[in-house]
């Protein structure tokens, strides 16, 4: 029986990759549950497997062993496309390197997630989201015309516009100065607070991690 109180559930996930003749274990028997509306920080040193765990939880990749449930669906039973459909409109992302499409304006970038979620009012949602992150005036600008902080705000607007129930953020302040980083963090928690969206953060930043409901530490692929 699926338990929909949980936004994400991971049971004994192990992930191995080949490197020449050797098998490297990136994640080793990791289990965790993330409740709906919860904010969770995953911390750890570089190479500890944080980003891999995030990609497993978001269904971007599949573990070698173990089970992941996202929004009540067993990701292991879904193919690539089905996982994509599950994410569309439900899952939002914020990346360290922003990941905006170069040829697109800020508005078009912000609209992308809502478009893919099939929202007919995608453009309107994107405009509203840009206004929320304070970038209405920059709607027609391209990423290369925006500062790092502004680009990250467009990425957050992209997530806002699609109206996700869970937001994954991978080192969202890693490329930003502390003041700008603080603004971005505020926006992320705003989404978590105001819309009840689950927030899963991967970060090195102890201060940021401390603002979350819960913090998990990963070391050599194991939860500590």
């Amino acid at each position: 029986m699926q338990d929909i109180r949980w936004a994400v559930r991971a049971q004994s996930i192990t992930h191995e990759v080949s490197s020449g003749d050797k098998r490297l274990t990136i994640l080793d028997d990791v289990s965790l549950d993330i409740g709906q509306g919860e904010s969770l920080a995953i911390v750890g040193r570089s190479g500890s497997g944080k980003t891999t765990l995030l990609s497993m939880l978001a269904g971007l990749d599949r573990p070698t062993r173990g089970r992941v449930e996202l929004a009540g669906s067993d990701l292991g039973a879904l193919d690539e496309d089905a996982r994509a459909r599950l994410r569309a409109g439900r899952v939002g992302f914020v990346f360290q390197s922003f990941q905006l499409l170069a040829g697109f304006t800020a508005l078009e970038n912000a609209q992308l997630g809502a478009d893919l979620a099939g929202h007919r009012d995608a453009a309107e949602r994107a405009r509203t989201a840009l206004a929320q992150v304070g970038l209405s005036a920059r709607a027609g600008h391209h990423p290369y015309q925006l500062s790092g902080g502004e680009q990250q705000r467009v990425a957050i607007a992209r997530a806002f516009a699609a109206g996700p129930t869970i937001l994954f953020a991978d080192e969202p302040t890693g490329n930003l100065d502390s003041a700008t980083g603080a603004e971005i963090v505020e926006l992320l928690f705003q989404l978590n607070r105001e819309r009840g969206a689950t927030l899963v953060l991967v970060t090195h930043d102890a201060e940021l991690a401390a603002r979350c409901n819960r913090m998990l530490s990963l070391s050599e692929g194991r939860l500590g």
Binding site: T51, L54, S55, A58, L60, D61, E80, D81, A84, R85, L86, R87, A88, G89, R90, V91, F93, F95, Q96, S97, Q99, L101, A102, G103, F104, T105, E108, L112, G113, D115, L116, A117, G118, H142, Y144, Q145, G148, R158, A162, D170, E171, G174
Partner: protein, 833 residues
């Protein structure tokens, strides 16, 4: 252990990783591929044309019996012979004249050819013991006392071997049937049945004397530089000098045309390769900027970075150029195979030096099209390592200059600036049209995005969002499609029209010496036997005595050809209307009912020789009267139509009272050939010339050339495909990133694939439409200005351009981007660290 870098092994160690890195860099591979294709096409054509040109020189010598000849109506004066004395040339003497040969009471008009022991200097004489019997090669003409006759005379007089023929006071025993003379054809005395005898016998026959219609011919053969000296000599009036090449006008015309078709293949391959190189270099430039920023951070100067880029380009140009030359060398072998039979003799071996041009082309292409993008990397600020700036465009001006230079290089190499100009201007116009239309498509995104499903909207939105990248891609795709369609146009329309120029019912018989009172009976003769289409042309002889009111003689002109013209009588005709093998260049045709107006229509060749303009007056001496005429129009005659044509023509009612002969040409089916004997019996003074052999030779050339051209267009196709690949490859890195992101945000496989198809189909559609338009305009322009062929616009080409473009571009995009479309969404995280 230290490794000496000059050791071959050490060098290989240094080169291998470099090569490996190049092989992993798709845009450099495409760049090199484009150079290889352009150089291969250019060197294949260069080598092949050089071989054909040399074979033609040899062959025309053989078809002429010598390398050059001096013709005259009188024996050559000692002054002329003295001019020849210092030159080391082999000589053969012969005389030709019409006479009547008797076998007992029977007689036939014969063209007598008397040769000395040195004849022929080039080519072979072949004889047979009976009609169509086994042939034998003869080193010389007949010995004294013997006569060799051709089949026509053999049949006319119903000869047998050993029969005696009387010619004047001489008696000759028929010993062989003459089946092949290397120098037969052309002049009027060659048309009647042939009787060949020894020169010494004729001197004793009393047939040759003052007033007799004899042509003296001194055949000359020797090294090319000696023949060149002969060309510079000023010959006295009445003496005509001719080289082997000049004697074969119709074959030369066909080969010139062939060369033009081959040049189009090279030109279009070269321009396309330039586009592919520019696109790949632009893409590689972005990569180089990242590298340059890191190098600068580590302490490299702009100069060092520029040197590194230039060395890389030089290596690339030389490497790809050499590979291209090798492939070109192999390809010219295939072309030569396809063209087997184009020349009667085997082609001489290829001269590798003739391909060196192509290496220059490789350097020009690479440095012209790729250097701007490569070199701008040196301006990259080191701060780029922290923050990527907006993409920087390459120097469009430099690439434009390179395109022009490359086209000029090919134009100069081919010696046809007009053809190069048309292809270049057409490509430039097509590029502009493609740019404008693509921009219109991009601008129309708002309308497009409101229609269709998510995938279609997404694909079309992609075009709109990429803006200039989409315009650039559409232009590149359009150019590639233009090349493909142009190949189609040239193959099916132009080559077809060229082949049709010589229809199956092209005239294959010429009749000359027709008298005015025979015109009506001859027409009745043709009508009664169902031979249609024979138009009779009147002709009289004239001499130019005044030009623009000033008396002229040979000394008035520097051009040796013009001197020859003024020296001798030439043929002049009159007509009310011109055939379709005459094209009006300037002025206008005279109305069909024009009579007696002192107007003159002049062929281009005569205009060039005499430096004529519309309105110039010429005074012609026709028999004992002088006639002043004014240049009314200038036309261009297609001499390979095998129909009678004249340099100078006047309207009817002006010169009819002069001594006139008529001539005609018509088509005779093989089964109608007995009619020829009947005709000669009924009109014994009329001379028939059988053109079947010459037509067959031209037809063979056409067939072979079409095969060779088709093969060479494979290079154009290859160049077109490299442009398509370069255009698609240019977006690969973006697509990998975008696909990962879209998947992460929830886009399905179907959405991504359909989006891509919609995007490429729309680009292909627009590019195909514009390319079809451009291909037709270019085709029509080439047909009109270069090939002088008829051309019709075709709707099929539009449909195939648009739909084929959409299908081809979608398929290629789909195939080449399949792997990128499979990018897993986790890459979006990996990329972010």
């Amino acid at each position: 252990m230290a490794v000496d870098p000059t050791e071959p092994d050490a060098r290989m160690h240094a080169i291998r990783p470099l090569l490996r890195r190049w092989l992993r860099t798709p845009e450099l591979l495409i760049l090199a591929l484009a150079v290889v294709v352009a150089v291969a096409a250019s060197s294949a054509v260069g080598l092949f044309s050089d071989r054909v040109a040399r074979a033609m020189e040899d062959q025309s010598g053989e078809a002429f019996g010598a390398d050059a000849a001096i013709r005259s109506r009188e024996p050559l004066s000692s002054a002329v012979l003295e001019q020849l004395a210092p030159l080391s040339l082999r000589r053969a003497e012969l005389i030709q004249f019409p006479s009547v040969a008797f076998k007992g009471e029977q007689s036939s008009l014969a063209s007598v050819k008397a040769t000395d022991a040195a004849y022929p200097l080039r080519g072979q004489l072949r004889t047979a013991p009976e009609p169509f019997g086994p042939e034998r090669v003869e080193a010389n003409g007949p010995p004294s006392g013997e006569a060799w006759v051709d089949l026509r005379l053999w049949q006319d007089l119903q000869l047998s071997l050993g029969d005696t023929l009387e010619l004047g006071r001489g008696r000759f025993r028929v010993t062989r049937i003459l089946s092949y003379e290397p120098d037969r054809g052309g002049g009027f005395t060659d048309l009647a049945p042939r009787m060949m005898v020894a020169l010494e016998d004729i001197r004793e026959s009393g047939l040759v004397g003052p007033g007799s219609r004899v042509q003296y011919k001194l055949l000359l053969s020797g090294a090319r530089d000696q023949i060149e000296i002969l060309k510079g000599i000023q010959w006295p009036p009445g003496v005509r000098f001719e080289t082997a090449q000049e004697g074969r006008r119709e074959i030369g015309g066909a080969l010139d045309r062939a060369r033009q078709f081959l040049d189009i293949a090279v030109l279009s391959a070269m321009l396309l390769a330039g586009a592919a190189i520019a696109a790949s270099a632009h893409q590689h430039g972005q990569r180089l900027r990242d590298e340059a920023a890191i190098y600068k951070v580590l302490g490299a100067t702009s100069r060092q970075i520029a040197q590194r880029s230039l060395l890389r380009l030089l290596g690339l140009a030389l490497g790809a150029g050499l590979v291209g030359m090798l492939i070109g060398g192999l390809a010219q072998g295939v072309v030569a195979q396809a063209a087997q039979g184009l020349t009667q003799t085997a082609l001489p071996p290829a001269q590798p030096l003739a391909a060196l041009w192509s290496l220059a082309l490789a350097l020009l292409l690479v440095f012209g099209f790729a250097a701007p993008a490569f070199l701008t990397a040196r301006h990259t600020p080191p701060v780029r390592v922290f923050q990527r700036t907006a993409p920087v465009g390459g120097s469009r001006l430099a690439a434009g200059v390179a395109a022009l230079a490359a086209a000029l290089l090919v134009g100069w190499h081919t010696g046809d600036a007009q053809l190069a100009g048309i292809v270049l201007a057409g490509t430039a116009a097509a590029t502009l049209a493609l740019g404008v239309l693509s921009w219109a498509l991009v601008r129309s995104r708002a309308a497009l995005r409101r229609r269709g499903g998510t995938a279609l909207r997404f694909g079309l939105a992609n075009i709109a969002r990429r803006r200039w990248a989409s315009v650039g891609q559409s232009v590149a795709l359009g150019l590639a499609l233009l090349a493909l369609l142009l190949v189609g146009v040239v193959r099916s329309d132009l080559l077809g029209a060229w082949e049709n120029r010589l229809p199956d019912d092209a005239p294959n018989q010429f009749l000359i010496n027709i008298q005015t009172d025979q015109v009506a009976p001859l027409e009745a003769f043709f009508d009664a036997r169902g031979v249609g289409g024979a138009r009779l042309w009147p002709m009289t002889r004239a001499r130019l005595v005044e030009l623009r009111g000033e008396p002229v003689d040979a000394d008035s002109f520097d051009d040796p050809e013009a001197r020859r013209w003024v020296n001798r009588e030439f043929n002049i005709s009159w007509v009310d209307r011109f055939g379709d093998d005459n094209r009006l260049m300037r002025g206008q045709w005279w109305p069909a009912d024009t009579r007696g107006e002192p107007w003159l229509s002049v062929d281009e060749t005569a205009v060039e020789r005499l430096d004529l303009e519309l309105g110039d007056t010429l005074t012609l001496q026709i028999a004992d009267r002088r006639l002043e005429v004014r240049v009314y129009n200038i036309r261009k005659v297609s001499w390979d139509s095998f129909r009678p044509n004249f340099f100078l023509v006047v309207p009817p009612g002006l010169i009819e009272d002069s001594a006139v002969q008529w001539l005609t040409s018509f088509h005779l089916r093989p089964d109608q050939r007995p009619l020829l004997r009947e005709l000669i019996r009924e009109f014994p003074n009329i001379t028939a010339l059988d053109l079947d052999a010459a037509i067959a030779q031209v037809r063979t050339i056409l067939d072979r050339v079409v095969g060779a051209v088709e093969f060479l267009f494979l290079f154009t196709l290859a160049a077109g495909l490299t442009v398509l690949l370069a255009a698609i490859e240019g977006t690969r890195a973006d697509r990998v990133r975008e696909t990962a992101l879209l998947r992460a945000l929830g886009a399905s496989n179907r959405t991504i694939h359909l989006g891509l198809l919609a995007e490429y189909a729309a680009l292909g559609l627009v590019a195909g439409l514009v390319a079809a338009l451009a291909a037709q305009v270019l085709g029509a322009s080439l047909a009109e200005r270069v090939f002088e062929l008829p051309y019709r616009f075709s709707l099929t080409l539009w449909a195939s351009g648009a739909l084929g473009g959409a299908a081809l571009v979608s398929a290629l995009g789909w195939l080449s981007l399949q792997r990128s479309l499979r990018t897993p969404p986790r890459r979006v995280l990996a990329a972010s660290g």
